[in-house]
């Protein structure tokens, strides 16, 4: 028997002994399902990466690795729908319109920010183009499978989002270069011009495809343009839109703009003034994406108001809490607790802002964001209730695999620093 076949045989034996790598059971914890209440002393069985069973008296199939989480709190893996982690490059700040940029081409699975973010119970992140350009690149939504091949990180079969940005950032970046856009009027012009070109481009291609399908001969296809090609995808709703803007009038502007061009606007990021136009956002069905209590770090952020989340909640505005940074991305659960300080929003709704709502904003609510049979086995285990700010994450599990283990990775647990 060759060395190679011996290795394979060993692997098979090991799998038989331990079950599949993506099989796991957690038993004894307080499970916060998000959609179906709290299960005390519950069990979750994950098989082939999916939740196979969840409940109070669940039989654990033989051969599955079992982790006892008695006394611990089990919640869905946290989702951050606005971040820039794990990217080698963030801003193609050379032109206000760069839709030809695809962020997965900058994705670095070995980025240390993945390791530190995992330790905050986060399993899924939308990592994005920066805000230098009115039309930036296409974001990428990933599972935080640290150091694995990028194919394992990128979530397939889901619509990705085109990043747009209004206001101060593009104004500053291009104004300082002495070129347009240097005003918000300029930002608006740049966006409109780009999508009008895309409409014309799409019309040409549609005609060509139609003629081709009708069997017309001697057709010359229109010239491919990678920039406009991406915008055409947005017009065809193969991509949705996430727009960065702080100010109320811009929020209304982008909602109207997306109606004008029939674009799917899913999220408004850094939405500091969202509460001022909560009703408009609710009607448009667009997500508020932002912080809980951050204001005044720049002029556009001056009117940041944590109490405003109550206005949005009452108006029916959908809300998610984002990090926008590798620092905050590690404690989104503490951000969620701050919601309870400034509003009367119920606990579970605050938790939804970092789980199910975030999943919905990524069009992934069928797969992640709550603990239900059939959903991905993405789980965060905490030592106390996640809205207790003195809690810490003990385990982060993605599709049944343990990617963060406090007991093994923590200096606090090991006391090595003394």
């Amino acid at each position: 028997m060759g060395k190679k076949s011996l290795t394979i045989l060993t692997a098979i034996v090991m799998m038989a002994a331990c079950g599949w790598a993506q099989d796991l059971a957690l038993k004894g914890g307080t499970i916060l399902t998000i959609t179906k209440g709290t299960i005390e002393n519950g069990t979750i069985v994950i098989q082939k990466g999916k939740i196979a069973a969840i409940g109070k008296d669940i039989a654990i199939p033989d051969g599955i690795k079992v982790i006892d989480v008695t006394g611990k709190f089990v919640m869905p893996g946290i989702i951050d729908s606005h971040s820039h982690i794990a990217l080698t490059d963030v801003n193609e700040a050379t032109d206000p319109v760069t839709p030809q940029i695809w962020m997965w081409e900058a994705l670095d699975p070995g980025s240390d920010a993945i390791r530190t973010t995992l330790a905050g119970g986060v399993t899924t992140v939308k990592t994005m183009h920066g805000s230098a350009n009115v039309i930036g690149g296409v974001n990428v939504t990933i599972k935080l499978k640290y150091d694995r091949p990028i194919e394992e990180l990128i979530i397939s079969g889901v619509r990705q989002q085109l990043k747009m940005a209004l206001g101060e950032n593009p104004k500053r970046v291009y104004g300082e270069k002495g070129r347009s856009p240097s005003t918000r009027m300029g930002n608006a012009f740049v966006a409109r011009q780009a999508f009008i070109e895309a409409q014309e481009y799409k019309a040409k291609w549609d005609k060509y495809e139609k003629d081709k399908a009708a069997g017309k001969k001697d057709l010359t296809p229109p010239k491919k343009d990678l920039k406009i090609e991406t915008l055409k995808m947005a017009l065809e709703k193969k991509l949705s839109v996430d727009c960065h803007t702080y100010r109320a009038e811009e929020i209304v502007w982008i909602i109207n703009f997306c109606k004008e061009f029939d674009l799917d606007l899913l999220q408004i990021s850094h939405c500091i003034d969202g509460y001022k136009v909560a009703d408009v956002m609710a009607k448009a069905g667009v997500f508020y994406g932002g912080w809980v209590d951050s204001w005044g770090f720049k002029e556009e952020a001056y009117d940041g108001c944590p109490y405003g989340m109550q206005i949005m909640y009452d108006a029916g505005t959908k809300m998610v809490i984002n990090s926008d940074s590798p620092v905050v991305g590690r404690y989104l659960f503490r951000e969620a607790a701050q919601v309870l300080k400034y509003t009367d929003i119920p606990e579970n709704e605050a938790l939804k802002m970092i789980t199910l709502n975030a999943a919905e904003s990524l069009e992934l609510d069928g797969r992640i964001g709550s603990l239900e049979k059939g959903k991905d086995g993405d789980i965060a285990v905490f030592d106390k209730h996640p809205l207790d700010t003195t809690t810490k994450c003990l385990m982060t599990i993605i599709e049944g695999e343990l990617f963060f283990d406090y007991a093994k990775q923590s200096v606090t647990a090991k006391g090595e620093d003394r």
Partner: protein, 423 residues
């Protein structure tokens, strides 16, 4: 929330009316869980405030005639939090620029008093978050930045707010210049030494009998004299191991009353710092670890500092006008508690420790008889992100629980509700 704000407003109007009718500022807080932090143990009881001071703590204190009685049943009474290294009062207006960080490598004479604005929106936002006393600094980006002062966040004129004018000088030992001297860390050290030597000479000259030319004053040197004579402490802003080491060397060589503000790398020096009784402003709880460090090294650092007996407080994660969220000073404390710091140590780090570091421990930082009545009533521990501040008293006066943010809330609550009614 709406009710809470309405309630606050009514309470405020009632208080205004009471004041107009000549009521004094005697306040009796009844039946709260009183957490003195130090100098006493937690108890369910009363706290009496008279003439701006805490006059009595105990059980069943009778209400003096005309006293404002606050029922704190089920609530928690804490000393007002004390925050260091803030820009509260000098954060400026959104369109007029801020008033921190004067241009120049050395500007020790800059005094935040000269820019202090009692209308700074940050004052109200900070105090309704339970922070009642802050150190306001003149800047942080130069090598020698300037003076810093202590204010209580109540009062309508700058002079009413000031507690102490010159509590510490601020050096940034990592503030390298670009394209001019000093552009390296050793350059910064030699620059600081030169300035300190000049200040020593200046102090020497001042102490000598007056000569003809000695009337020429140098305001920068005058600001540094109390530093080199050890009368005013100096806070060294450091951001890594090298800058901490350089700061410690300067403190020792020049016998400075030094304080280390560290963003990372403090643990290696914890024993030495503890032995030398150098206070630490730990600003690195939320700093990202280095690639080779455990994910929670910085989360856990405060616990180690406490264990080694280092006098430390937290920094609210950034200074200057970019950080107006001084009230979130409680977050690094919460993270540290999650990672091994005791809740008692965390509370001390937010109250009495910064008071000690700023030299005002006999005035604020605990609930003790005779101290300035800076008190906040919370729904729970300040360490808990969800705890709300319901009442704030500063220098014995009830503070309206309103801010620029509650006014924004009121305004847009009405606007949004009315628009929704129409549709």
């Amino acid at each position: 929330m709406k009710k809470f704000i309405q309630f606050s407003l009514v309470l405020f109007l009632l208080l205004l009316a009471a004041r107009a009718s000549g009521a004094n500022d005697t306040i009796l807080i009844k039946n709260g869980t009183i957490v003195p932090v130090k100098g006493g143990s937690d108890m369910v009881g009363d706290l009496l405030i008279e003439n701006g001071k805490i006059s009595q703590l105990g059980i069943n204190i009778p209400a003096p005639a005309g006293a404002e009685v606050i029922d704190a049943t089920g609530k928690y009474v804490y000393p007002g939090l004390v925050a260091v290294m803030t820009a509260v009062g000098v954060t400026g207006y959104p369109q007029a620029g801020n008033d921190t960080d004067e241009v120049g490598t050395s500007t020790p004479q800059m005094d935040p008093y000269d820019a202090l604005n009692p209308e700074d929106d940050c004052i109200e936002v900070t105090r309704v978050g339970g922070v009642t006393t802050v150190q306001t600094i003149s800047g942080s980006r130069s090598v020698i930045n300037g003076k810093s002062l202590v204010i209580h966040l109540g009062g309508t004129l700058a002079e009413d707010m000031i507690a102490h004018r010159y509590v510490a000088q601020i050096f940034n030992i990592g503030a390298k210049e670009q394209n001019k001297f000093p552009s390296t860390l050793p350059g910064v050290v030699s620059y600081l030494k030169t300035m300190l030597n000049q200040a020593k000479d200046y102090a020497q000259k001042q102490s000598e009998p007056a000569k003809e030319d000695s009337s020429k004053r140098d305001l920068a040197m005058e600001a540094l004299v109390p530093v080199v004579t050890g009368k005013v402490p100096v806070i060294f802003i450091t951001n890594n191991e090298v800058t901490i080491r350089n700061a410690l060397a300067l403190i020792e060589e020049y016998k400075l009353d030094g304080i280390i503000r560290a963003g990372s790398g403090i643990l290696k020096y914890a024993d030495r710092i503890a032995k030398s009784n150098i206070p630490v402003i730990w600003a690195g709880t939320e700093s990202l670890p280095q690639r080779w460090q455990p994910h929670d090294l910085n989360y856990h650092t405060a616990a180690v500092l406490a264990e080694k007996g280092v006098l430390f407080t937290f920094d609210s994660g950034g200074y200057g006008p970019g950080n107006r969220n001084v009230r979130n000073i409680t977050r690094p404390a919460a993270i540290s508690v999650a990672h091994g710091l005791s809740e008692t140590d965390a509370l001390e780090a937010l109250t009495i420790n910064p008071a000690k570091i700023l030299g005002i421990a006999d005035e604020v930082g605990t609930l003790e008889k005779g101290k300035i009545a800076n008190v906040a009533i919370w729904t729970g521990s300040p360490i808990q992100g969800r705890s709300r501040v319901e009442t704030v008293i500063i220098k014995g006066k009830l503070i309206p629980m309103t801010s620029f943010q509650t006014r924004l809330y009121d305004k847009f609550r009405k606007i949004v509700d009315e628009r929704m009614k129409k549709k």
